[in-house]
Symmetry: C2
Subunit: 313 residues, 2 copies
C-alpha cells in the first residue's frame, strides 16, 4: 500500500464531503456560513474524519484483503459489504464538531489565539460574535448530518456516540478542567490525564467507534476500537504537548510555546521531554496491540495510527 497516496485520497474525500454536506457560503445569513466554511476550509490534517473513513472500511472496504486469520465467516463479510452506509456525512460531522471546538477554544475568553493552521482565527478574521455563532452552528450541524443521512437505528447510535464524546463529561469537561489547570501551576498527573482523556482522546475514540458502527462492527469490535482510540488519543495529545514545547510557530501553524508562557501544567512540565516520549510510546504500543485483535483490512488504519503516534520524532 502506498500510504501517502492513500492518505491523500482519503483527505480529498473528506474535503469533497465538506463541500457537499455543509451549506454554501452564500446561504442566508452569508456572513455566518462564510465563517463556518472559513474555519472548515482552513486545511488541517483531517485526522479525525479520516479515522472515521478508515474504521468504516476496515471490514467492508472495496480493497478488503484480510491479513491474519479470518474469524468472521465470509458470508458475514458479504452481508456487511452489502449494508455499508456512506461514511462521508459522519466524517464531515466529526470535522464540524472538531472545528467548532477549535473556534471556541481560540476565543479571547478561552485561549485567546490569533493564529490557527497558519491563518487568522475566526474571531480575528470576522469578530467574536460571528466566531461564537459559527462554532454553535457547526456543532448543531454535526447532529443534523447524522440524523439526516443514516437509517434511524444507525443515526440514533451515531448521535448518541458523538453527543457523549462531545458532552459535558468528556470534550467540554476536558476543556473546562484545562482552563482551570491553566490558572494554577500545580495540576496533578491525575488532572492532566482527565484533560487528555476527555479533551483529546474522546473525539478520537468517537471517530473510530462511529466509523466502526457505520462499517457494521459488532460489540466486541466497537470495544476494541474504543480502546485503541483511547490510547491513540493519549499518545497524540502527549506528542502535542511535546511539540508545543519544542517546535516553532511556523512548523506548528499555530502559536508555539504558549503552554510554557501561560505557566500551564503539561505532560512535559510534569514528566520532562524524555519521559513524555516514553509514555507516548507506551500508548502507541497499546494502540497497536488493540489492533491485532481486529480482523480486516488494517493496512491503511495501521499506517495512519503509526503516523499519528510518530509525528516529528
Amino acid at each position: 500500500m502506498d500510504f501517502p497516496a492513500e492518505l491523500k485520497r482519503h483527505v480529498a474525500r473528506v474535503e469533497r464531503g465538506l463541500d457537499q454536506f455543509v451549506p454554501r457560503a452564500d446561504t442566508r445569513p452569508a456572513r455566518l456560513h462564510t465563517a463556518m466554511r472559513y474555519s472548515l476550509e482552513a486545511g488541517g490534517k483531517r485526522l479525525r474524519p479520516v479515522l472515521v473513513l478508515a474504521a468504516a472500511e476496515l471490514f467492508t472496504g472495496p480493497t478488503l484483503e484480510p491479513d491474519g486469520e479470518a474469524t468472521i465467516p465470509k458470508s458475514e463479510i458479504e452481508n456487511r459489504k452489502s449494508q455499508i452506509q456512506n461514511p462521508i456525512p459522519a466524517a464531515v460531522a466529526v470535522e464540524c464538531l472538531h472545528t467548532y471546538s477549535l473556534i471556541h477554544d481560540d476565543l479571547p475568553c478561552m485561549d485567546n489565539d490569533d493564529l490557527r493552521r497558519g491563518r487568522p482565527t475566526s474571531h480575528k478574521q470576522f469578530d467574536e460574535a460571528t466566531a461564537l455563532l459559527a462554532g454553535d452552528a457547526l456543532l448543531t450541524h454535526a447532529f443534523a448530518l447524522l440524523a439526516e443521512n443514516y437509517p434511524a437505528p444507525l443515526a440514533a447510535a451515531l448521535v448518541r456516540e458523538l453527543a457523549n464524546a462531545a458532552g459535558s463529561r468528556r470534550l467540554i469537561g476536558g476543556q473546562m478542567e484545562d482552563l482551570l489547570a491553566e490558572k494554577k501551576s500545580d495540576a496533578t498527573p491525575e488532572e492532566l490525564e482527565f484533560i487528555h482523556l476527555n479533551k483529546t482522546a474522546a473525539m478520537i475514540e468517537a471517530s473510530l467507534v462511529m466509523g466502526g458502527l457505520i462499517g457494521g462492527a459488532g460489540e466486541t469490535e466497537v470495544a476494541t476500537l474504543r480502546q485503541a482510540g483511547r490510547h491513540l488519543g493519549l499518545s497524540f495529545q502527549i506528542i502535542d504537548d511535546i511539540l508545543d514545547a519544542t517546535a516553532d510557530t511556523a512548523t506548528l501553524g499555530k502559536t508555539a510555546g504558549k503552554d510554557a508562557k501561560a505557566g500551564k501544567t503539561t505532560f512535559v512540565k510534569l514528566h520532562g521531554i524524555e519521559a513524555s516520549w516514553s509514555i507516548a510510546t507506551k500508548h502507541s504500543v497499546e494502540t497497536r496491540a488493540s489492533f491485532t485483535n481486529l480482523y480486516g483490512n488494517k493496512a491503511f488504519l495501521g499506517a495512519l495510527v503509526e503516523m499519528m503516534s510518530c509525528r516529528s520524532r
Copy 2:
C-alpha cells in the same frame, strides 16, 4: 379546566425533569455542571418545554376528551395511547437548547447583558469561559437526551427537527441577522421578519412539532402544529418587542428598553406600538385558526397559546 393549576402542574413536571435528566451539579467538572444548572434553574416560564408536553398529550393524554368531531378512528386513538413515549426528556432537551441560546446571547460579544430572569447572567455569575462552555454543553446535552431516551425512529426524527430549528439557517441564522441589524438603524421589515421567524418562531415551532411526533401525530397534524407554531412564535416575539419598549426592568426580569438604547430596529420602531399590537393579534388569530383543524384534547394547549399571545395587554 383550571388553567393556572394545569400550567403549574406542567411546569412542575418540567422542573422535575430538568433535575432528573441533567447531570448533578457535583458531576466532574463541578464548575461546568454547576453553571449548566445555574442557568437552567433560574426559573423562566418554561413555555417551550410545556408546549412539548401539551402537544405530546394532545391526542393521547390521560385526560383525553375530544372537543369537536372525531376524524380519527377510536382504534387509532387507542393505538396511539398505547405507544406514547415519555415527553419529559424531549421537553428537557428543548429547555436545554433554549437556555444555551440565552447564555450565549447574553455574552459580552453578543448582547452583553448582566441580568437574566432577575439574576446575574452566567458570565457575570461565573466567567465568560465557563458561560461559553456551559452553553456548548447544554446544546450538546439536548441531542444526547433525544438519542438516549427514545426508540431509534422517533429519536432520529426528534434530532432532525431540533437540529434544523436550532441550526445555521434558523435559530443561529436569526441571531446572526439580529446582530447585523443592531449595527444599522435601517433594517427592513423583511429582515425583521427573517429574524423573528428564525430567532424566535423556529424553536416554538419545533417544540410543538416534537411534542406532536412523540404523541404520534401524523403528517397533516405535524404540518398544522408547525403552522400554528410559526404564527405563535411571531406574535410572541412582536409582543416581546412591545414589552421591551413599554415595561420596566423589574417586570421583565431582564434589562428593559435596551432595544431602543441600542438603536436597534424593532417591530415597534418600524410600525409603532398600536400597529405592532394589531400585527401580533393577527398572528394570534392565525394560531387559533390552525388549532381548529386539530382533533384532540386542545383545552390546555389552547389556553396556553392564548396566554402567550396576550401577555400584559
